[in-house]
């Protein structure tokens, strides 16, 4: 208490000082003027007119006029975003019309950073400002974060093709084992996604990349922060505008997985000597495929065609019983020319997005409203994402010094597929061997999409017993099931705030904001009859609902004053955040009717189950402050500190302090550079800071817990088949765990050169220490989940380079080009037990995270050719069990004369050497053209799909052309690519090896847009003020040596830190042809 009194005393002193300084006023006269833009000669509304050396200033009104008190000799600085600031010495009371020239520089832009705004030129740390106009041209596919790809140096975005599938965003590379996604701050509200924003609503995006800039977000900021501000009404007459596009998406053409023809499949079975298969499904000899396959009660086989029994009256036996699969007698006609499964699943699909906005402002209030409708159909049949959106942003100046306002966004999302944050929901499961996409390369080409009924699906069941047709599923049938499923999301996000100016230099800001997400989903399935393993079962239903909510309560007081050449801003704040939620799920089987309006959990007759739970509530409290000091626009210093307390940790570990300091030196203001005419502006900066991250730990981590769940704790102790609840330790607690700590240094250069270039360069080094890991405890502790503990360090260093060039030829032709390059190097500095194996697949682990290596490297055997006949008899050639002539020869890495586990080594790295984005744009008179390119260099992909298609001995199923024509021992092959095709498996075919690793550097032309803006004079006659139409090609070109679908891969079934593994991915590089318009009334 005493301490706080003292604090109060100090505050009072500062207040008194401030009062005094504001009394310095002398005799004044009124000075007036009008500001217009050099481009359109229209009044500039909201331009700042400031008396140099003071903080006295006004803003121009709706007619561009201003009035302020001053006297002759005062120097006025007139500035507005996008225009070059003008300095005028007052010589008369009416300054007349002042024209501001359009700037090529964006330095005067005001950017919103942590809890306040700064001019771009005063930035002292690594903050990237995204050009929203450019970025918006990338169709989002329902995931708005996609627009960040290639738009800012230091930001890596992996997009997904699945409608609404989300994007993986990393700032300066992968940071940890778990959640590496940045924090999103939308209109001051912290949340976990930007993906459902309407891109048209976005005013600006800033990306805080270094600890110097994001330390002010403390424990939430460690992975970097994306700060988004949505639009406000702009002064002037109210406008109504309509933005829309319509397009079509076209899946990749050709034989994308290089699958054999049915005749080729038959030849391959003979080549591999797999009698148990070829006798059953290719009885007529190599290259033949019978006419029909059938299976029913007690009967199965093939019929018709060479070697097979005659068809006879077989077709008359066809029977399909939807209620009891045991009665099914299914017959399919083999597709002799081969089913193109990929294109049976992927078809051209439309997309459209419409946004209507209304906005306006007067000197007191402004408003912005928008309605949006997105309908993103997926190229995979039956997939889509629809979103209905509404936004209302308003601001009211209710007194001269008091403003209130709100931002409010509501959307309703609809999709047949689950999103990962909804518990209990399956969905499409991209990048998974059992998903429809993966089944397009697993299911044999002779299987038809539909069986002889024409309406029921063909599949692996309809053939001889056993599973010579493989155990893949009919992917179209799988996707067909999604028709019955839906997932609905209702989300409200935004905030309400009030801002009070007091004592001249103080502004208090209070904001209550948050996010409220409600979801509901329902799934229905009918008994599968077309797949080998699941033939049988009953229909069933699964539905559930839940909510997540969080609030942010933020209070800040800002003090800002200019003393001569000293410009000081200080801010203190308090913030409280709270998260909670609940969910419920129910399921059951055996519905009498499959009519969708009858399907519900009341009507299920078997296995009715219900579960629910609470999302562990998390509370966070924080105190923070920042100090900005600028001397003479030349030396800029910023310091921040935040103290965070989080309920996630045990008392004693809950509080942490995160400081940062950064400084910049505007070297171009120094006398020795002032005369260098080609330097418009140059600033050197350095920052250091510390932040934290705690999302990779559960809120109950500190506690040892017991549970008594049905499947794990119940036991029929009475012996009568009725289970009784028992308890078991479910979690071990650790009271010492605390957050991951991110410390980093950034040195940067911002320069404006030759009037046309803007250059930003950053070098950084960042260490993430005390990584949160589930403690790796031995099983001697039983089955309880170990707690997360702080173990292991990761170091990232790299460079961000951004160059922008803008110029014009005359007034009619303007052009710009921007290039940004992201270079990061990630290295694991320490880990418990030195390494972690990851990405468990059917055959083995693919990834090893090891000290001294980057996160995510591929680990396996190095293929060193094939065993020759001579090798097989030479005892000095190290071999593994089951090796035969033509098997992969693995390198004996440790030279011990045998091939064992210990010979595995690092065989590839999914981390790119660098990624880059290129934005090009030009306008000529009414035409404009722009292009966005995105590339990645030096990344490798582990093509797991080849396990299924290139090795005969993996599961029965579709195989590749290479297996037949490029394998060891195949007729005419002298320089084999693949090992001998055989149904015998050995380490040569079942282990992770360098065979699967390929260079996956790519360059994608993401977008080319050609627009035409109609002459305002002409359209004015029909009531419009602006009309632009455009055509656009998205992803017209992907240049890569990678042979799979798309070299850009989201994480698969492993964890987020295991990436670059292709298990069959919904491609995000599909061509799209779009027409669109921007219309303003």
């Amino acid at each position: 208490m005493f301490k706080s009194l003292l604090l109060k005393g100090r505050t009072m002193c500062i207040l008194v000082l401030c009062l005094l300084s504001s009394l310095v006023v002398t005799a004044q006269t009124k000075i007036t003027g009008k500001v217009i833009g050099g481009d359109d000669k229209q009044p500039i509304i909201g331009a700042t007119v400031k008396i140099k050396g003071t903080n006295v200033g006004v803003v121009t009104d709706v007619n561009g006029n201003f009035t302020l008190s001053g006297k002759n000799g005062y120097v006025l600085i007139i500035s507005y975003i996008g225009y070059q600031a003008k300095t005028i010495t007052v010589s008369s009371s009416d300054l007349g019309t002042i024209t501001l020239d359009v700037t090529n520089s964006t330095l005067n832009e005001v950017v919103v950073t942590g809890y306040q705004s700064q001019r771009k030129k005063d930035i002292t740390s690594a903050i990237a400002v995204v050009d929203v106009t450019d970025a918006k041209r990338i169709p989002t596919g329902g995931a708005t974060a996609n627009i960040l790809q290639g738009q800012a140096a230091g930001v890596t975005v992996v997009t997904q093709g699945q409608p609404g599938g989300g994007a993986s965003v990393q700032i300066r590379g992968i940071q940890n084992f778990g959640n590496s996604q940045p924090l999103y701050v939308i209109d001051g509200v912290q949340g976990n996604s930007m993906s459902n924003l309407n891109p048209n609503d976005i005013e600006s995006i800033q990306i805080l990349k270094d600890p110097g800039s994001y330390a002010i977000y403390g424990v939430a900021g460690g992975n970097g922060v994306v700060v988004i501000t949505t639009k406000k009404g702009k002064a002037g007459a109210s406008t109504i505008s309509y933005d829309a596009y319509y397009g079509t998406q076209v899946p990749k053409g050709g034989n994308v997985f290089n699958i054999l023809s049915p005749a080729g499949m038959s030849k391959l079975a003979y080549l591999a000597g797999d009698q148990s298969v070829y006798l059953k499904i290719y009885p007529g000899g190599a290259g033949t495929v019978p006419e029909y396959g059938y299976q029913g009660p007690g009967a199965s086989g093939v019929a018709g065609g060479p070697g097979a029994n005659p068809v006879g009256d077989l077709l008359s036996k066809y029977n399909f019983d939807a209620s009891n699969t045991a009665n099914d007698f299914l017959i399919q006609k083999f597709n002799q020319s081969g089913t193109d499964w990929f294109h049976a699943l992927f078809k051209a699909a439309p997309e459209q997005y419409h946004t209507v906005t209304a906005s306006g402002a007067n000197d007191k209030n402004n408003y912005y409203m928008s309605l949006g409708y997105l309908d993103q159909q997926g190229t995979m049949v039956y997939t889509y994402y629809k979103r209905y959106e509404a936004r209302v942003n308003t601001n009211f100046n209710i007194a001269k010094n008091l403003r209130v306002g709100e931002t409010g966004y509501f959307y309703y999302g609809l999709s047949p597929l689950g999103t990962s944050d909804i518990p209990g929901q399956g969905g499409i499961s991209n990048q998974n061997e059992g998903a429809p996409i993966s089944n397009t390369y697993r299911i044999m080409p002779q299987i038809p999409v539909y069986d002889i009924s024409g309406t029921n699906f063909g599949g692996t069941y309809d053939g001889p017993g056993g599973e010579p047709l493989g155990n893949g599923a009919n992917p179209v049938a799988q996707a067909f099931q999604y028709q019955n499923d839906y997932s609905k999301n209702w989300n409200i996000q935004g905030n309400v705030f009030a801002e009070l100016d007091f004592l001249k230099h103080f502004t208090a800001h209070i904001s209550m904001g948050g996010n409220m997400n409600n979801y509901y989903y329902a799934q229905f399935h009918t008994p599968a009859y077309m797949d080998y393993e699941s033939h049988g079962g009953s229909n069933g239903s699964n539905e559930g609902a839940g909510y997540n909510s969080n609030y942010n309560w933020t209070n800040t007081i800002k003090y800002s004053q200019i003393f001569g050449k000293h410009n000081v801003t200080a801010l203190v704040g308090f913030e409280q955040k709270y998260y909670n939620g609940r969910y419920i799920n129910g399921s059951g089987d055996n519905l009498f009717s499959v009519d969708p309006s009858y399907v519900n959990l009341t009507n299920v007759t078997a296995n009715r189950q219900v579960s629910s739970g609470i999302n562990q509530p998390i509370g966070t409290q924080s105190f923070f402050g920042s100090l900005d000091y600028t001397y003479n626009d030349k030396y800029i210093l910023r310091a921040t500190v935040r103290r965070d307390g989080s309920s996630v940790f045990y008392p004693g570990q809950q509080w942490g302090t995160f400081p940062s300091v950064s400084a910049a030196w505007r070297i171009s203001q120094e006398d020795f550079l002032k005369s260098v005419s080609w330097i418009n502006d140059m600033k050197i900066r350095a920052s250091w800071g510390e932040a934290g991250f705690s999302s990779n730990v559960a809120g109950y981590n500190a506690y040892s817990l017991y549970n008594g769940t049905l499947g794990n704790g119940y036991y029929p102790i009475a012996g009568a088949g009725v289970t009784q609840q028992g308890f078991y330790q479910s979690n071990l607690g650790n009271t010492h765990t605390t957050w991951e700590n991110d410390k980093g240094l950034d040195i940067g250069l911002d320069a404006s050169l030759f009037n046309h270039f803007e250059l930003t360069f950053d070098w950084y080094r960042k260490t993430i220490s005390g990584l949160l890991f589930a403690a790796n405890v031995p099983n001697t502790l039983g089955g309880a989940q170990p707690p997360a503990i702080n173990l292991g360090n990761v170091g990232n260093n790299g460079m961000d380079i951004a160059i922008d060039y803008r110029n014009n030829v005359g007034n009619d032709f303007k052009y710009h080009a921007g290039v940004n390059v992201t270079v990061y190097k990630n290295k694991i500095l320490s880990l418990p037990n030195n390494y972690i194996d990851d990405a468990f697949n059917r055959v083995n682990t693919i990834v090893r995270h090891e000290v001294g290596h980057p996160i995510g490297e591929f680990f396996g055997y190095q293929v060193a050719g094939f065993y020759s006949a001579a090798d097989m008899t030479n005892a000095n050639v190290p071999k593994y069990a089951g090796a035969q002539e033509g098997s992969f020869k693995y390198a004996d890495v440790n030279n011990d004369g045998q091939i064992t586990d210990a010979d595995r080594t690092f065989i590839g790295n999914p981390n790119p050497k660098f990624t880059y984005g290129i934005n090009l744009g030009a306008t000529y008179k009414a035409f404009d053209i722009s292009a966005i390119l995105y590339g990645s260099y030096g990344n490798q992909v582990y093509n797991y799909t080849l396990y299924w298609t290139d090795f005969y001995g993996s599961f029965n199923g579709a195989k590749s052309n290479d297996a037949l024509t490029k394998s060891y021992g195949a007729p005419g092959v002298t320089n084999p690519l693949l090992p001998i095709q055989s149904d015998l498996n050995s380490m040569g075919t079942t282990q992770t090896s360098s065979f699967y690793v390929s260079n996956a550097s790519f360059l994608k032309i993401r977008n080319v847009q050609l627009g035409y803006t109609f002459d305002p004079k002409i359209i004015k006659t029909i009531g419009m003020s602006k009309l632009r139409v455009y055509v656009q090609a998205t992803n017209p070109v992907t240049i890569t040596k990678y042979k799979g679908l798309d070299p850009e891969l989201p994480p698969g079934t492993g964890n987020a830190q295991s990436f670059g593994i292709d298990e069959g991915n919904y491609p995000s590089n599909q061509r799209q042809w779009i027409v669109g318009l921007n219309l303003t009334f």
Partner: protein, 640 residues
């Protein structure tokens, strides 16, 4: 104006101050969805922990310990396909971890090995949780008697889990209730077997447990004594084992106080409707339709159903040719055993069975005819109805042309998932009766229809007790007593021909393979079984041993015992047979099972397989555990 500003600042400052003092509460959010230890410090809590320890007995279904089936108490993997009982089943590439166990290329990275290890230790620690929680109960709800009872049950369970661990891995850590996360003493080594510790826990439990229990799932005195006997058998202490077994045979009763006895109907042991009968010395209780999605319904065996028929998946754990052929008997109804104890049957001599296509008789008359390579639609196929076989065969393995439990005639290849790779026979002992399918089975986890079942797994049934006692008698030189015990086991079948499989296939209606004509008054095959009449009592010691071993093989086939029996008998760890015995038995079986023409039976998993003596008798310690224990844990001999 200024006044009003102060009005604003002062309350704001107060708000700030208040907040900084209310932080503590805000930062201690309630723990969702779980219990903290103090809540369990009551009698009900302790009993709940004890039930939780029992709940680990299936050794599966624990989401934190990996695969549902990798640790299964039935030991279909480690005890079954790792021995000559069964093939893995399904396609050669399906479940590669199982394939590695089957062809003895298993190593410490194998996921089944990891899951088994973890499941057993999870059970040990759940039992320890009971012992740790007991002293925390201060509310007076627990009497000294109850505390003793609970302690004994916990020690029983700890003994059972440690015995299971020891069977599979032999050199294992002993984890008692002092080993905890907070104590930091969890890197427990495995300097050697812990039989003495297992025996101590089970001796304590035998001493303290009551003879009867109201709840039939709980261990009683004799269950504990039976596991003690089993541990002593693995420890090769035949005298001590015989004492315990004799006590069980003399005084042993079930939880209900019924004297242990063999069920008149052998199949009652594998009938979910007949569980907890007089033969069940200790059974892992299973239940379905309890809302757990099949998790309490023998989840460890969900793969082990025919690929058609009773369920649709997954065709694992198929009886091997060598096992089925072992059921052939002499015309007098006794197994083929030479006087010197060697086994004359040619299925051990590596002679292939020639394809019996389209009903033609097999090329070698001394092996049982099978439908290997015969299409399910073939309407001429007739099973072998003349070769004398032990009647237990058709309660152990599903064969074409013979009724499969109460599902009617087994139709052959259409029920085998990949007959060409894994053979024609279907496992049976974990399959519920069709008549009780509705009540005793349910879908497992939503993907395996009908594959969760309420059939108990008998960890020890009474015939096991009798046969262990017979072994002790042979080693103790009392072969007459051994013969009497073996005859007691055989007598059940000899005396109850009414319980042999009935339903002789006589043909097919209209040449339709789906319409068999069955004579239900006749035995399905030529069943012959008789008691020994002095052959054991008067035979060589080796003959007596092999006769007891052979009886175990037939009686307990497909119950996950075979591998561990061979391990016990091998001289490597002190067994009665020479060192290398297990390797010679299994390598002979490999030779037989891989000698068929590939078109007939490709058996890709076993190609080039060898059982290596001195290594494969026990399984490798999980490599991950060796790494995480920082040197405390050592790998078993022969494993890298």
């Amino acid at each position: 104006m200024k006044k009003s500003i102060f009005k604003f600042i002062i309350p704001l400052s107060l708000v700030f101050l208040t907040l900084s003092y209310s932080c503590k509460k805000f930062l201690n959010q309630p723990i969702a969805n779980a219990l903290v230890p103090s809540v369990l410090a009551t009698k009900a809590g302790v009993d709940g922990l004890l039930i939780g320890a029992y709940a680990m007995l299936p050794m599966s279904g624990n989401p934190t310990t990996g695969d549902t089936w990798g640790g299964s108490v039935s030991n279909w993997h480690f005890g079954g396909i790792g021995s000559d009982d069964a093939n893995k089943g399904s396609n050669p590439t399906d479940q590669p971890d199982a394939a590695a166990i089957m062809n003895h290329s298993v190593d410490g990275s194998n996921d089944y090995v990891r899951t088994k290890w973890w499941s057993c230790l999870d059970g040990v620690q759940r039992a320890n949780d009971v012992l740790r929680e007991l002293p925390l109960v201060k509310d007076g709800s627990i009497s000294a008697e109850y505390a003793a009872e609970v302690t004994a049950e916990a020690k029983f369970l700890r003994g059972v889990f440690n015995l299971e661990l020891s069977k599979v891995f032999r050199n294992v850590p002993y984890v008692d209730e002092t080993i905890t996360y907070s104590a930091g003493n969890y890197n427990v080594g495995n300097p050697g077997p812990i039989w003495d510790k297992v025996e101590k826990d089970l001796t304590d439990a035998t001493g303290a447990l009551p003879a009867t229990q109201a709840q039939l799932g709980r261990a009683n005195k004799y269950a504990a004594e039976a596991f003690l006997a089993k541990a002593l058998m693995f420890d090769h202490k035949y005298t001590d084992a015989l004492a315990a077994l004799t006590d069980i045979m003399t005084n042993g009763v079930t939880d209900q106080g019924v004297h242990f006895a063999l069920n008149a109907n052998f199949n009652n042991n594998f009938d979910a409707d007949m569980k907890n009968g007089p033969e069940a010395v200790f059974a892992v209780q299973m239940a379905v339709h309890d809302g757990s999605s099949g998790n309490n319904g023998n989840p460890g065996d969900i793969l082990n159903f025919p690929a058609a028929g009773p369920t649709g998946c997954c065709g694992f754990y198929q009886p091997s040719f060598t096992l089925v052929n072992a059921f052939r008997v002499t015309a007098g109804g006794l197994p083929f055993i030479n006087a010197d104890g060697s086994l004359p049957l040619n299925d051990y001599d590596g002679n292939p069975i020639v394809a019996a296509v389209n009903g033609a008789s097999p090329g070698n008359n001394s092996t049982l005819k099978s439908d290997q390579g015969v299409d399910a639609t073939d309407s001429k196929y007739m099973p072998d109805q003349t070769t004398p076989v032990d009647p237990r065969l058709d309660w152990t393995a599903g064969r074409r042309g013979i009724p499969f439990i109460d599902y009617g005639i087994m139709p052959g290849a259409s029920w085998a998932r990949a007959q060409g790779d894994a053979g024609p026979y279907i496992n049976m002992k974990n399959v519920y009766h069709q008549s009780s399918a509705a009540t005793q089975s349910e879908s497992y986890g939503g993907w395996a229809p009908g594959q969760a079942s309420a059939m108990n797994y008998n960890m020890i049934r009474y015939s096991d007790i009798l046969l262990m006692a017979a072994e002790c008698q042979v080693e103790g030189g009392n072969q007459a007593a051994a013969e009497a015990l073996v005859n007691q086991v055989r007598g059940r079948m000899v005396d109850h021909p009414e319980n042999w499989v009935k339903g002789r296939l006589t043909g097919y209606t209209a040449n339709d393979a789906t319409k068999p004509i069955v004579d239900n008054t006749q035995n399905a095959a030529n069943y012959v079984i008789a008691r020994y009449t002095g052959q054991i009592a008067g035979g060589t010691k080796e003959f007596a041993r092999q006769a007891v071993f052979y009886e175990r093989r037939l009686e307990l086939a497909m119950e996950g015992q075979r591998f561990f029996d061979l391990q016990r008998w091998d001289g490597t760890f002190g067994g009665p047979e020479p060192t290398g015995y297990m390797a010679s038995v299994l390598n002979k079986a490999i030779a037989t099972n891989t000698s068929y023409p590939a078109a007939y039976f490709s058996n890709g998993v076993m190609k080039n397989a060898t059982f290596t003596a001195g290594r494969n008798e026990i399984y490798p310690i999980p490599t991950g555990q060796i790494n995480v224990e920082h040197g405390a844990l050592k790998q078993n001999a022969g494993y890298p």
